[in-house]
């Protein structure tokens, strides 16, 4: 690695722990080093280094033909990324906040997701960016976007919960020949409690495989992203009452690892789904019907969910805290389910 590498991509090399944000920077840097077809597009990602500084120092190393500051036109530059992908490049598009992916909804669902299907070949393209609430960002800087895309055949959706997964999954996403939506929770970016030392060698984590974050016997909690941490906190609280929760971290939402969910459910008989996104039309529904299709007879209680309230993300801190699902909500629901 050349000496001009910025600090946030050299921590693993020197054996130091990294945050989720640094893990993402490292993945981007290493993939750009490894494969000259990989390039970045986004608003203010060059000289400014990005709103969250994920790409600080990248412009100096890779130059303006691989680190492209775009106009403020998410639809337009996502469409352009698709054209570059047709020609064999591997664009990684940053949304400054993932909320701003909505002007690119048309091109993502109609053009990009259907490319292979229409005979236009593979579409190796990643759209990544920060998601999630808890930062007092109000309705347009706090959304989770998975359900805007979960219904579209041809897309993949990844949502990591920790540095190791973030790095390995982002590398897999960049190497994947399909378009991937990659969600990064702002609340995890710099969270001190989830810094960790990563393997120094190149590694990937395959898309589509969930991870057991905690083993247990009494109920299964299926979750992802920041809610993995809330669920683990809840599990610790439940453990004090002798309730052993199993926590499954989905990591990839599409394709969904229904095998892993079914395996855990068959062990525990109880299924609670926890997501930060709002309730109606959230991913919990799809999980519920797949478990009906695959594991109905193992259910010893209803499939339940803990989610945000059906509302835009509120501006005020008090309202936002009320809106978001909390550890206490998970504990309450889990207790109810175990006692069912």
């Amino acid at each position: 690695m050349p000496n001009d590498a910025p600090a946030q991509v050299t921590r693993t090399r020197s054996g130091r722990p990294v945050t989720v944000l640094e893990a993402i920077s490292e993945a981007l840097w290493e993939e750009m080093e490894r494969d000259e077809r990989v390039f970045l597009m986004g608003e203010d990602i060059g000289a400014y280094g990005g709103a969250f500084k994920v790409t600080r120092g990248f412009l100096d190393r890779f130059g303006p033909s691989r680190v492209i500051d775009t106009p403020i036109s998410e639809g337009g530059f996502t469409g352009a990324a698709a054209g570059a992908a047709h020609m064999g490049l591997r664009p990684v598009v940053e949304m400054q906040f993932m909320d701003f992916i909505s002007p690119a909804y048309d091109v993502l669902t109609n053009y990009i997701a259907t490319s292979l299907y229409r005979g236009a070949g593979p579409m190796p393209l990643v759209v990544r960016g920060p998601v999630g609430g808890g930062n007092r960002g109000g309705p347009f800087h706090s959304q989770n976007v998975e359900m805007a895309f979960f219904h579209t055949p041809g897309l993949k959706i990844v949502y990591p919960s920790n540095p190791r997964d973030a790095k390995g999954l982002l590398k897999s996403s960049i190497r994947d020949d399909n378009p991937v939506i990659f969600e990064e929770h702002k609340g995890l970016y710099r969270a001190p409690h989830c810094r960790e030392v990563l393997p120094s060698e190149d590694y990937v984590i395959p898309l589509g495989s969930a991870r057991t974050a905690l083993e247990g016997e009494d109920l299964t909690i299926v979750t992802y992203g920041l809610m993995v941490h809330r669920s683990l906190e809840a599990a610790a609280e439940l453990a004090r009452d002798g309730i052993r929760a199993e926590v499954v971290d989905l990591r990839t939402l599409l394709p969904l690892d229904e095998e892993a969910i079914a395996d855990s459910l068959k062990k525990t008989g109880k299924l609670l789904i926890v997501h930060e996104d709002t309730r109606t039309g959230g991913i919990a529904g799809e999980i519920a019907i797949r478990m009906n299709e695959r594991a109905f007879e193992w259910l010893d209680g209803p499939i339940l969910r803990v989610t945000a309230i059906d509302s835009p993300v509120p501006f005020s801190g008090e309202l936002e805290d009320y809106f978001l699902p909390g550890v206490g909500d998970v504990v309450t629901a889990a207790r109810y389910l175990v006692g069912y």
Partner: protein, 344 residues
């Protein structure tokens, strides 16, 4: 409701910049200046969000908006102040307290703290704030509102402020094209960016030409020249002559009060405004802002449960049972006792 501070008549609509308007602009300018200082203080002392420590007001935007017809009954002109709030909002009759409530996320704000910061909407005042990510939405929405004015034959127009980087967004082009095609009474102001280079490539005058709509450029001129530009655009607009695109040139960073100070001086020297009157105006503005800040401190935050109700008029988004009223864990009730987890 806070009392309406003296010196401001939101319903007056002068065709030219007479002395009454001049005094009003002086008042608005001072009000903006004091509000700016107060907001920065409150941000530094963490009453308001730390980002607001850089809060500032462009007085030219106040002058531009003052050339429209304000109102407090939902029947005046419409303004999207965009990145230039609060200048235009004040010119449209918003009080400093109303503004502060939004900045602070108070339960008393018109959005009950569900939305806030620089983004606020109050249709009674004729103010439509950000309601989406950037992307031209405001221009489309105001074009549609202006269509309603024209359809009903009303003497009303709409003013939308955007940064010039709006040119990069397709949504803005669709809004302007539609406004031009329907010939609605819309005035679109594109302001130079406050920070950075804005990655702009487009020539605004040529943009107006491409849509066949009127164009004007205003800059470091005195309010005497900015005001009539908008007044003329508004006249054309309500006469059915269609939209105008106005380029508001960069005021620079250091000189953002230059215009107002020059204007105050002019009012004294040319219009013969007595120094004492100027001083009274200044004091009234300061008092209004201080009153607002004091009152703000006493106002409550939002009520969590009630604030989140109006997502959909007939949908009370009450919390799922897992969140608020769970059955006791050791007495699993019959399923029905759980009640709907979420009512529509």
């Amino acid at each position: 409701m806070t009392p309406e501070p003296a010196g401001h008549a939101p319903n007056s609509f002068p065709a030219t910049l007479g002395s009454e308007v001049a005094r009003d602009l002086l008042y608005l300018g001072f009000q903006a200046r004091f509000l700016e200082a107060r907001v920065r203080d409150l941000a530094r002392s963490e009453v308001l969000h730390a980002d607001l420590a850089g809060f500032r007001v462009d007085p030219r935007s106040t002058v531009l908006a003052r050339a429209m017809r304000g109102g407090t009954d939902g029947k005046g002109d419409l303004c999207h102040p965009g990145p230039l709030a609060p200048g235009p909002a004040l010119a449209f009759g918003a009080t400093p307290l109303e503004f502060l409530r939004h900045l602070a996320g108070k339960g008393t704000s018109s959005a009950s703290a569900r939305e806030g910061g620089l983004s606020w909407t109050d249709l009674r005042r004729g103010i439509i704030g950000w309601g989406a990510p950037r992307g031209g939405t405001a221009t489309q929405v105001l074009a549609g509102a202006a269509f309603a004015f024209r359809q009903r034959g009303e003497d009303r127009a709409a003013l939308v402020f955007e940064r010039r980087s709006a040119l990069q967004s397709g949504g803005w082009h669709e809004g302007v094209n539609l406004a031009g095609a329907l010939g609605v009474p819309l005035i679109v102001v594109l302001a130079a960016p406050q920070t950075g280079d804005g990655s702009d490539h487009a020539d605004i005058e040529a943009v107006a030409a491409s849509y066949g709509i009127a164009f004007a450029r205003v800059g470091r001129d005195s309010p005497e020249r900015i005001f009539p530009t908008v007044a003329a655009a508004r006249r054309r607009a309500v006469n059915g002559e269609g939209p105008t695109l106005i380029e508001l040139l960069d005021a620079g960073d250091g000189n953002r009060w230059e215009h107002h100070d020059a204007f105050a001086e002019l009012a004294v020297t040319e219009d013969g405004l007595p120094e004492q009157v100027l001083d009274a105006i200044r004091k009234a503005a300061a008092a209004g802002v201080e009153h607002a800040a004091a009152r703000l401190a006493k106002e409550p935050g939002p009520s969590t449960r009630d604030a989140l109700v109006p997502v959909c008029t007939d949908a009370a988004p009450h919390p799922p049972w897992t969140r608020r009223d769970p059955p006791a864990p050791d007495t699993p009730a019959p399923n029905d006792a759980m009640g709907p987890p979420h009512a529509e």
